[in-house]
C-alpha cells in the first residue's frame, strides 16, 4: 500500500518535470523544426507512458501510448509537425496534467480524452505524406544523419511460450539482430525456465535483454522484430546518450570532441593522435583540424558536437533533490560554529603571546573554511532560471495566437543562478510583463510590415549577473511606449500639471502607478491599468527594482534588478538602550547627529528633523518598540535617515555598532503584529537581533 503511494508520489514529481520540458520543447519545435527535438519529445512521452503504467495511472498510460504512436509517425517523417499537431499535443499535455493532479478523478476526464483521441485519429487518417524534400534540404532527420557513428540500443525481447507454433524461431530473429552490429551487453532471462523434468521442448522459455552497438538506425532494428512485435513483449530503446557515458566513460566527465569522434567510430585513435599533434595552441579547434585532414566530414563533426552537448546536459542533470529545510538547518549549525569560533578567539586573547598567536593562526584558517562553507551552502539554494523562462514559451505562443500575433520567445542566460525563493516569486511579475509586451508592446503583423519590421515579433527574456545582483530583462521589439500618450494619461490622472516639465524617467515611472495605462482599449488580458503597480510591489518585496527604457518604434526593455539571494543581507547593527537591531544597509541614506534647532514639531506631522533644508519625520524607535533608551533627546542621540518606497524617515538610535553580513531568519507571524520587524538574525556573540523592516516601519508610523 505504502509502496504504491511512494511510487505515485515519485511519478507525480517526475511527471511535472517531464511535462514542463515537453511543453517547452513542443513550442520550440514549432519554431525550429529541429529533428533532435522530435526525438526528445518522443522520449519524454515514452518515459511518461512507462512511468504512468508503473505508478498505476491507467488512463494516462493509455493516452500517452496513443500520443506515442502519433509522435512515432512524426519522427519517422510520415507526419509533419505542423501547428495542428502541436496544438493537439499541447492540449494533450494539459489533459495529462489534469489527470495526474486529480489522481485521474477530475470530472470530464474521459470525455476530454475521447475528444483528444478522435483528433489524434483524424490527424493520422488525413495524413498526407510529407512532400519529398529537395535533396540537400536541411530540415528533417535524414537517414544519413541517423547513420553517423555508432548508436546503442537496449533491446528487451521476450517471447510467448507457444511462439514455435507460429513457425517463428526466436533464434533466427536474434541472429538477424546480431548481423546489424555488435552485442556489447547480454542478459538471458531464465526466470521462466522450468526444471528439466517439467520442460516442454516445444515451448520457448527464454528472453533476452541486450545492448546492441550498431550504425543502423532504429528503424532497421524495428524491422527485425516486425512480425513478432504484435503479441510478444519486445522493446527497443535508443540509449546512446546514457550508454556512451555509463560504460565508456564511467567518471562522467566532459568528453573532448576528439574522444567522441573516436567512440562513435568516425575517427581512429591514430587519426586523432595525428590531428592532436598538429594542433597548435588552444586556438585551433580539433574539429576543424580533422575536417581539414579529411578524416571526418563537417557534418560528422557537427554531429559529435551535438553529442558533446547532450553529455553536458546529462552532467548538469545528475542532481539530488534536497529539502530546503535541511539547508536552513545546515546554515543554522554553521552559524553556531562561527559563534563557537569567536568564543575560542576570546580565549586566544587571554593566552600568553606565543600560544595565543598560534591559536589565532589556526582559527584564521578555520574562519576561511567556514566562510567558504557558508558560500557553498548558499550556492545550493541557487538554481538556474532557465526552467522558469522555458515555461513561458507556451504562454507566449498561446497568448500571441489569441491576439492573432506571431511572436517568438528568445531566451538568453537561462543558466544564470538565483535563489530558489526569488525564482518562485518572480514568475508572476514576469508573466505580467510578458503579457503586457504581447498585448500592447508588439504591433499586429500588418503594422510591423508597414514599419519595415519582421512580421513576427520577438520577446527576449535575458538574465545575467552584474555587480552582485541578478538582472532579468524583458525585451520586446514592438512599438515602444508612447510618451505623449503617457503624459496625457498622467495629466488626466492628476499626476502632472499641464505644461509641467517631467523627465523621461519620471514619466515612465507613472506606468507603475495604479490606474495608468497607455493601451487605448481595455484588452481581455491587460490594459486595465492594474498590474504594473502589482508587479512593482512584488519585485520590491524581493528587495529588487524595475526600470524601463523605451525607444519609439524599436521596442521597450523592462529591467528587473534582484539581489542574488534573499537569505543574506548587508546590515547595519544599531543599538537602542540594551537592544541591538539590524537596519538593511540598502535602505540607509545617511546618519547624523542633529542640532537642537533642527528638531521641530509640525502640526499633524509630529516631530520632524531638518536635513539640508528638507523635513524628515523623526521616529523615536524606543517609543515605537517600548524599550528603555540611553538618550531621549534627539540632539544627544544619533539619527539614521532611511528610505523605502520613496519616503524618508529619521530613526533615533543610541549608537552605530558596525556593518555586517546578516543571515536572515524568519520570525513566526504570530509573535508580533508589528510590521516594523521583519525577521531576526543571530549575532556573533549568539544573541538574537531583530531586523527592522523600513518599509513596514514607515507604513506603521504613517498610520
Amino acid at each position: 500500500m505504502d509502496d504504491t503511494r511512494v511510487l505515485r508520489d515519485v511519478f507525480i514529481r517526475e511527471a511535472a518535470d517531464i511535462l514542463a520540458s515537453l511543453e517547452s520543447d513542443l513550442v520550440r519545435l514549432e519554431d525550429e523544426k529541429a529533428p533532435e527535438l522530435v526525438n526528445d519529445i518522443f522520449r519524454y512521452v515514452h518515459t511518461l507512458k512507462g512511468s504512468s503504467g508503473i505508478a498505476g495511472f491507467k488512463s494516462v498510460y493509455a493516452f500517452t501510448h496513443r500520443l506515442e504512436n502519433l509522435l512515432d509517425m512524426v519522427r519517422s517523417g510520415k507526419l509533419a509537425a505542423g501547428r495542428e499537431i502541436i496544438d493537439l499535443l499541447l492540449v494533450g499535455l494539459d489533459w495529462i496534467r489534469l489527470a495526474i493532479d486529480s489522481g485521474e478523478e477530475a470530472p470530464g476526464l474521459d470525455e476530454g480524452r475521447e475528444g483528444l483521441l478522435k483528433r489524434v485519429e483524424a490527424i493520422i487518417e488525413s495524413t498526407a505524406p510529407i512532400p519529398a524534400e529537395a535533396p540537400g534540404g536541411d530540415a528533417g532527420p535524414s537517414e544519413e544523419e541517423m547513420d553517423l557513428g555508432y548508436r546503442y540500443f537496449r533491446i528487451k525481447a521476450g517471447f510467448r511460450e507457444d511462439i514455435f507454433e507460429t513457425g517463428t524461431d526466436p533464434l533466427m530473429i536474434m541472429e538477424d539482430l546480431f548481423s546489424l552490429g555488435v552485442v556489447v551487453e547480454r542478459h538471458t532471462d531464465r526466470k521462466r525456465l522450468p526444471e528439466l523434468s517439467a520442460m516442454d521442448p516445444e515451448k520457448c522459455y527464454l528472453g533476452w535483454n541486450l545492448v546492441l552497438k550498431t550504425k543502423s538506425p532504429l528503424q532497421k532494428i524495428d524491422e527485425v522484430f516486425m512480425f513478432v512485435r504484435g503479441d510478444n513483449p519486445i522493446s527497443v530503446e535508443d540509449i546512446t546518450a546514457q550508454y556512451a557515458i555509463s560504460t565508456e566513460d564511467p567518471e562522467i566527465k566532459e568528453k573532448r570532441i576528439g574522444e567522441i569522434l573516436v567512440a562513435k567510430g568516425i575517427l581512429t585513435d591514430v587519426e586523432l593522435n595525428d590531428a592532436l599533434k598538429t594542433q597548435d595552441g588552444e586556438n585551433t579547434r580539433i574539429g576543424d583540424l580533422v575536417v581539414a585532414k579529411g578524416y571526418a566530414t563537417e557534418r560528422e563533426v557537427q554531429f559529435a558536437l551535438g553529442e558533446q552537448e547532450k553529455i553536458r546536459k546529462r552532467i548538469e542533470t545528475s542532481t539530488v533533490r534536497v529539502d530546503t529545510g535541511k539547508l536552513d538547518k545546515l546554515l543554522n549549525l554553521l552559524g553556531e560554529i562561527v559563534i563557537g569560533q569567536s568564543a575560542i578567539a576570546g580565549i586566544a586573547e587571554e593566552l600568553d603571546e606565543e600560544r595565543g598567536f598560534m591559536l589565532k593562526n589556526a582559527l584564521y584558517g578555520l574562519d576561511r573554511t567556514t566562510r567558504e562553507f557558508q558560500e557553498q551552502i548558499m550556492s545550493i539554494r541557487m538554481i538556474p532560471i532557465g526552467p522558469s523562462f522555458e515555461q513561458f514559451r507556451r504562454f507566449v505562443r498561446d497568448t500571441a495566437h489569441a491576439h492573432g500575433k506571431e511572436i517568438r520567445l528568445e531566451i538568453d542566460g537561462g543558466e544564470t543562478e538565483l535563489d530558489k525563493t526569488v525564482i518562485e516569486r518572480i514568475d508572476d511579475p514576469l508573466k505580467h510583463m510578458i503579457r503586457n509586451a504581447i498585448d500592447h508592446g508588439i504591433e499586429p503583423a500588418s503594422e510591423r510590415e508597414a514599419a519595415g519590421k519582421d512580421r513576427n515579433g520577438t520577446i527576449t527574456l535575458r538574465s545575467y549577473h552584474q555587480e552582485g545582483n541578478v538582472y532579468i530583462d524583458v525585451v520586446d521589439d514592438g512599438r515602444g511606449i508612447d510618451k505623449v500618450k503617457l503624459r496625457a494619461r498622467a495629466e488626466q490622472a492628476g499626476l502632472l500639471k499641464p505644461g509641467e516639465e517631467a523627465s523621461e524617467a519620471k514619466l515612465l515611472s507613472f506606468l507603475f502607478l495604479p490606474g495608468v495605462s497607455t493601451a487605448e482599449e481595455v484588452g481581455d488580458l491587460s490594459g486595465r491599468g492594474v498590474g504594473m503597480d502589482v508587479v512593482k510591489n512584488n519585485i520590491e518585496s524581493l528587495r529588487g527594482s524595475v526600470e524601463i527604457t523605451t525607444r519609439p518604434g524599436k521596442g521597450s526593455t523592462f529591467r528587473i534588478k534582484l539581489p542574488l539571494t534573499l537569505a543574506i543581507i548587508e546590515g547595519m547593527l544599531v543599538r537602542v538602550g540594551r537592544n541591538v537591531y539590524i537596519v538593511p544597509l540598502l535602505s540607509i541614506v545617511e546618519s547624523l547627529q542633529p542640532r537642537k534647532e533642527d528638531i521641530r514639531t509640525v502640526k499633524e506631522k509630529g516631530e520632524v528633523i531638518q536635513v539640508r533644508g528638507e523635513y524628515v519625520s523623526l521616529v523615536r524607535l524606543y517609543d515605537l518598540f517600548g524599550i528603555e533608551p540611553e538618550f531621549r533627546n534627539p540632539w544627544e542621540s544619533l539619527v539614521v535617515i532611511v528610505e523605502a518606497a520613496g519616503s524618508r524617515v529619521g530613526m533615533m538610535i543610541d549608537e552605530l555598532l558596525g556593518q555586517q553580513q546578516i543571515v536572515i531568519k524568519s520570525l513566526e507571524n504570530h509573535i508580533t503584529k508589528s510590521r516594523a520587524v521583519s525577521g531576526a538574525a543571530i549575532l556573533g556573540d549568539g544573541r538574537v537581533a531583530l531586523i527592522i523592516d523600513i518599509h513596514g516601519l514607515i507604513e506603521e508610523i504613517s498610520r
Binding site: 549549525l333 553556531e336 524568519s666 520570525l667 509573535i671 531576526a680
Partner: protein
C-alpha cells in the same frame, strides 16, 4: 524449513490466538503508562508529555520583541534557530517573578514549530498510568481549564497535565491578537 513444518499444525488456531491477544492488549492499554515531564509554576506541579519536549535549557538571553503579547517574552537562539519563548506565569495570569538559577526553558514542539516555555523549575520525568488520569474536574484551578488535558496522580501529588497544542496553538494566539486589537 523443518521449523516451519513443525509449526504448521498450529496454524488453524491462529484466529483464536489473535482474539486472545487482542483482549490482552486491551487490558494492557488500560494499564499503559505515559511519561510526563513535570515542572513547577508557583505552587502547582504541571506535566507535559515527554514526547512533546525537545529539550530543556537553562535561562538564556532573551531578545525582546516589540508589540508582542504580554506573555511572549521574546526570542532566543537555540543552536542557530530563532525560537519564541512564553512566560508561563504571565500566560496563566500569575504574578511575575524574577528568573533565578532554577528557572528553565522547556522547548516543546507544536505543529512542527518549536516554542519555549519559561517555568519556575523542572522537577522530574514520571510515569503516570493512563487509567489514573482523570478528566478535568471543575475545581478552582488558577488556569483556564481549556489548557488542561487531565489530572494525574503521582504518589500523593497531583500533576496538572497540560495540552501544549492548546496553549501554544497559533489560532489561540491570533484570537488573543484579535481581542487585543479590538
Amino acid at each position: 524449513m523443518s521449523e516451519t513444518r513443525e509449526k504448521m499444525p498450529e496454524e488453524p488456531k491462529q484466529p483464536e490466538d489473535i482474539r486472545i491477544s487482542r483482549t490482552r492488549e486491551k487490558v494492557e492499554r488500560a494499564e499503559e503508562e505515559n511519561q510526563f515531564v513535570t515542572f513547577v509554576i508557583g505552587e502547582e506541579t504541571y506535566g507535559v508529555e515527554v514526547l512533546r519536549v525537545q529539550e530543556i535549557i537553562g535561562m538564556t538571553r532573551i531578545t525582546h520583541v516589540p508589540n508582542a503579547m504580554s506573555f511572549m517574552k521574546g526570542v532566543i537562539n537555540l543552536r542557530g534557530s530563532v525560537v519564541p519563548v512564553v512566560d508561563m506565569r504571565t500566560k496563566f495570569g500569575m504574578a511575575e517573578r524574577d528568573y533565578d538559577a532554577f528557572t528553565v526553558i522547556i522547548i516543546v514542539e507544536v505543529r512542527g514549530r518549536m516554542i519555549g516555555m519559561i517555568v519556575d523549575s523542572v522537577s522530574d520525568v514520571v510515569n503516570i498510568p493512563v487509567r489514573s488520569i482523570q478528566d478535568t474536574p471543575h475545581f478552582s484551578a488558577k488556569i483556564e481549564t481549556d489548557f488542561i488535558m487531565g489530572i494525574g496522580q503521582v504518589e500523593e501529588k497531583l500533576v496538572i497535565i497540560l495540552d501544549v497544542d492548546r496553549i501554544m496553538s497559533s489560532e489561540e494566539m491570533t484570537e488573543l491578537d484579535r481581542e487585543r486589537t479590538a
